[in-house]
Each structure stands twice: as C-alpha cells, then as structure tokens.
C-alpha cells in the first residue's frame, strides 16, 4: 500500500512541555487507523498539527508526496485533509442541511460568488441531502444543528468533513459523549462510508472496543511519542501498550 501521509520528526512545544516529541507518523492509502493513548499523550495535538490548526516547531508533514508543513488550513483542505472535532464544532444556528451545503459550496469554490442566490443552486442542495442520507440523517435536514442529539451532532460533524471529499479524514473521538447504545451504529455508519469511498481515516479513540472492532492498524502514543504501531493483534500483545494504556494482562 502506498503512503498517503507521513510526518517526519514532528515537534510541538508549549513552553517547556513537548506535546509532540519528534513523531514519525504514517497513514496508508485506504486504511482505517486508530490513534490511541492516554489523555495528554499528544494525539489531538498531532491531529491539530497535521490539519493545520497549529504550526509545527520542527519536522515535516508530507501528504501525497507534497510537503504541506507550511501550508494554511485552507490549502490543506484543498489538498484533501479534513477533520472532525473532539468538542463538536458546528454552525449551531444553521440547519443540518445548511451545515453540509456550506461545506459543498466551499469545496466547489462557489463561496466566491457574491451575485447568485445560494438557494438557487439545486445540485449543491441535492448533494447535501444525499450526504445526510448516507449518514442516516435526512429526516433531520431542517433541524438546527444546535437542536440535534449528541450522537447526531457527532455524525453531522463527520458529514461536514466528508462533504469536503477528502482523501484523508481525521476523526477526533467520534463517539465521545455518546451513549454506549449509539456508539456501534455511529461507527458502523462512519466505517461503511469511509471504506466504500476509499477514504483513509485516522480515528482518535479511547473506547477500546471501538478501536479493536473498526481499525486496520493501531498507533499508540504516550507522552508525545509513538509507543507502538501495528495490527490490532500485535497491539493487543504489546507489553508496553498493555502496561501504559490497557492494563496488565492479568487485569484484562
């Protein structure tokens, strides 16, 4: 499999604290990867660096062969990197449909148009409805994002990122704050969408059931560095991961 994204020696420091400590991280084409680690391990910071929310202090980020380290958020999105947020970040005053449509307008560079009515662009709205349907939310199209349930908000967050037609999707804890009952349907939806469109995904997750059920590969981080990297089976047996994250074999 070809490498889609690669970071080399990526560093991010906050004062004396090294949140991301010379990380070499890889995502391959077509794979679903889980990024695990205790709180403060550096997972979200790594995603923030790759998606462009933060500027790296050192190191390189290479996406599809091009060095994107110095690129703006906007450029990275155009290149094909999209993300959802740990704390759901939506346009609460807009309907679910409007949220998704906005992403489509942006992707198609139509947001530059001042002199045409947004409502008149039928293809965009058609696609928006279809995307909502893919995520099982077409019945909530007209509901304001602020009025959706937590699970629906999480899905909408992913749907918006998906509407940007990315090659690589980062999902930051897509099931956090969601009841256990809802987790599986949400992950099923996300997983099937991502795999059928051959989008590569990197999912930050704490729920080990989700991690082991849905990922092709697991990367474990600890204190800003990569602790282990391998298939779910390999990780399940990895001593270091077991002691720092999952617990000792006896307790498991």
């Amino acid at each position: 499999m070809t490498v889609l994204l690669e970071t080399r020696g990526l560093v991010k420091q906050f004062g004396a604290f090294r949140a991301v400590d010379s990380v070499d991280f890889r995502v391959q084409e077509g794979e679903v990867l889980a990024l695990i680690g205790s709180n403060g391990a550096g997972k979200t910071t790594l995603v923030n660096l790759i998606s462009g929310l933060l500027r790296a202090d050192a190191g390189h980020i290479v996406f599809r062969g091009a060095d994107v380290t110095a690129q703006s958020v906007h450029e990275r999105i155009t290149a094909g990197i999209a993300r959802s947020f740990q704390l759901v970040n939506l346009f609460d005053q807009l309907s679910a449909l409007d949220n998704v449509a906005l992403a489509i307008f942006s992707r198609q560079k139509k947001t530059r148009k001042l002199l045409s009515l947004a409502e008149a662009d039928r293809p965009v709205w058609q696609e928006a409805i279809e995307i909502l349907a893919t995520f099982g939310m077409e019945s909530k199209a007209r509901v304001l994002a602020g009025g959706l349930s937590q699970g629906e908000r999480k899905l909408l967050d992913v749907a918006i990122a998906y509407a940007l037609k990315p090659r690589l999707l980062f999902l930051d804890e897509p099931t956090s704050g969601v009841s256990t009952r809802e987790k599986a349907p949400i992950m099923d939806t996300i997983s099937s969408v991502v795999r059928s469109d051959r989008i590569s995904a990197a999912i930050i997750e704490h729920d080990m059931d989700v991690v082991f059920s849905y990922s092709d590969r697991i990367v474990a981080m600890h204190q800003g560095a990569i602790l282990a990297d391998g298939t779910p089976e390999e990780i399940r047996r990895d001593e270091r991961v077991l002691t720092t994250l999952i617990g000792t074999p006896e307790s498991k």
């Binding site: 929310l53 958020v73 906007h74 970040n89 939506l90 346009f91 906005l102 947001t111 662009d121």
Partner: protein, 330 residues
C-alpha cells in the same frame, strides 16, 4: 468568539414581497402627497439607509463591529466635492463612479490593515483610521476647505435633468426619485449578496470562525471582501448625500458620525436584513425633531444605545418579529 443568540430569519420571497410592494408604492407616491420638506427629509433617510445597509454587512453578517464607517461616507462625499472643485464635473453618474473608485481604494487599504485582527482591535483600529482621515481633512484645508467645507451645486441627472431653477423643487422631485432608484438597486444588490454562497460563508465566519476555516473558507480574505463591499455601499451613500446637503464638512468623518451609523443599525436591529434600513429612517426623523430640543444629543444617543443593548438587543425589527410571533401563537 461570538455566539449568535438569535438566528437571522429566513423569509420566503412571497412574504418579503408582501410588505415590500406597499412600501414601494408609498415611496414612489410620496412627492405627490407630501410637501417638499417631508420628501427631502425622507431622501436623507433613504441615503442613511444605504449607509446602514452597507455597515451591517460587516456587523450583522460578518460579525465585525466597525466604529469608523464615517470615513467611507466622508470619502464618498469629499470625492464628489473634489470632483466639482478641481474637475468641474456635474454629472451625478460621474460622481457615483468616482465615489465608488475612491472607496474601493481606501477600503482595500484600510481593510487589509483591519481584518487581520480580533474584534476589539478591529473596532478601535477602524475608529482610529477614520479619525486620521478627519484630521487630514482639517490639516489640508487648502484642498478640503477645512471647517468651512466644500460646496456642491445640484448635479445633472442622467445627463439631462438639471437643477437649474428651483433647487428645492429639484431635490424634492427629480433628485428624490434618483435617490429612490439607487436605494432600490442597493437594497436588491445587498439582498442578493447576503443570500449568495459568499453571504453564507460570511455568516459561517461570524458564527464559528474555526469551523469556517475547517470547511475551507479563507477567513481573512472573505472578511476583506466584506469590508470592501460594506465601505463602498456607505461611500455611495455619502456621494448621494452631498447634493442634498449642498455642502460637505469634516465632521461627517468624525467618530461621532460613525456612532450614529452604529446607533441607527442597532436601533433597527442588526440581526435582520431590513433592520438597518428601518433604523436609519426612524433615526433620521428622531434626529431632525429631537436635535431642536437638546444640545446634549450624544448623551441621548448613548443612553438609548445602552438601554437598547440591555433590553432590546434585536432592535425595532427584531422586537416586532418577536411580538408578531407571540401574537400568532395565541
């Protein structure tokens, strides 16, 4: 980060036309039913309506509160006056064209400086820049006429209609209709802009800057364009205003005039499309009739603004909508 507490209303086109048509009829018929003074007074109101409409693209739709919009009004007005003084131009169309060009230049530069910054810095920076222009209008008195200002005669409309003869009659009929036509064009244009994909992007930036960035919108660039469009509308208003007033002086570039623009927009309701227009027209009447009563006009404005923000933050239009919704829910 700003959190919007009331969403902008989505009005279906039919409902919009519902009140627009009667309003239009009244506006068109006015010179025939009202006296000249009232007609000219409304012309002032319509002009300020255009200024407030432009201003609100930044505030209501992009979430940027400018305290220096008087600068662009002044640039529009002084461009006209200088065209008269140095080029002897009398065509109203030339005035409007010149004002637009001048405003594009000034807003492009000012906007580039201002939109890089957070709301607070943005506000004070806009105020400071307009004060710089104001002081320049004083300093270069041999160009701008200083405190005496510059006189502007009645212009030629569409190359044929001139103001020779009875000036008041001209202003109350031909010029009034000209202003009305430009007003309608501006309202229509602004309506399209705020309902365009661009307009939606602006509102996204206003509501959630980070998410807007992560949907691929270039925040700074879009704010800059909004700044430009906003300033040009207000500058256009300034150009329309000068022939009405006959004279332009530096105080239209002073921060207190910016304050009036802010006030009328908040009065009408900055979270709606029509709010600024209504606010401008109402304010115009308020100012005309109240200024006679008190010299402490600023104090009155300030107190009303504070009261408005405390208790009626959605302004006239927002409050009217709320009351109407409550009445319907009975």
């Amino acid at each position: 980060m700003s959190t919007v507490t009331v969403a902008l209303e989505h009005r279906s086109p039919v409902r919009t036309l519902g009140w627009a048509v009667p309003a239009l009829v009244i506006l068109v018929a006015l010179p025939f039913v009202a006296d000249q003074y009232q007609t000219i007074l409304l012309a002032y109101g319509l002009v300020m309506g255009i200024a407030a409409l432009g201003f609100n693209l930044l505030l209501g739709y992009t979430g940027l509160l400018s305290f220096g919009h008087s600068a662009y009004f002044g640039v529009g007005a002084y461009t006209v006056a200088l065209m008269v003084k140095y080029l002897g131009v009398t065509s109203m169309e030339a005035y409007l064209g010149g004002a637009i060009i001048a405003c594009v230049l000034v807003t492009a530069i000012f906007g580039f400086a201002c939109v890089r910054y957070t709301r607070i810095f943005f506000g004070i920076l806009t105020m400071a820049l307009s004060q710089v222009l104001w002081s320049l209008a004083f300093k270069f008195f041999w160009v701008t006429g200083g405190t005496d200002g510059l006189r502007v005669p009645t212009p030629t409309l569409l190359g044929v209609v001139t103001g020779s003869g009875d000036k008041i009659a001209f202003l109350a009929t031909a010029y009034y209709y000209y202003v009305l036509a430009v007003f309608i064009a501006c309202v229509a244009l602004m309506w399209v802009i705020v309902n365009s994909p661009f307009g939606r992007a602006l509102q996204a930036i206003r509501d959630n800057e980070v998410r807007a960035a992560f949907v691929g919108i270039q925040i700074r660039k879009y704010r800059w364009v909004a700044f430009l469009v906003s300033g040009v509308f207000t500058g256009l208003a300034g150009a329309l205003w000068v022939p009405l007033n006959g004279l332009t002086t530096p105080d239209i570039m002073h921060w207190t005039f910016s304050g009036e623009i802010v006030f009328m927009t908040v009065l009408g309701g900055f979270r709606s499309f029509t709010g600024p227009i209504i606010g401008a027209i109402v304010f115009n009447y308020l100012k005309t009739y109240a200024v006679g009563y008190t010299v402490y006009w600023q104090l009155l404005l300030g107190v009303v603004l504070v009261v408005l923000v405390l208790s009626l933050p959605t302004g006239i239009v927002g409050t009217a909508d709320r009351l109407r919704a409550r009445w319907r829910a009975r």
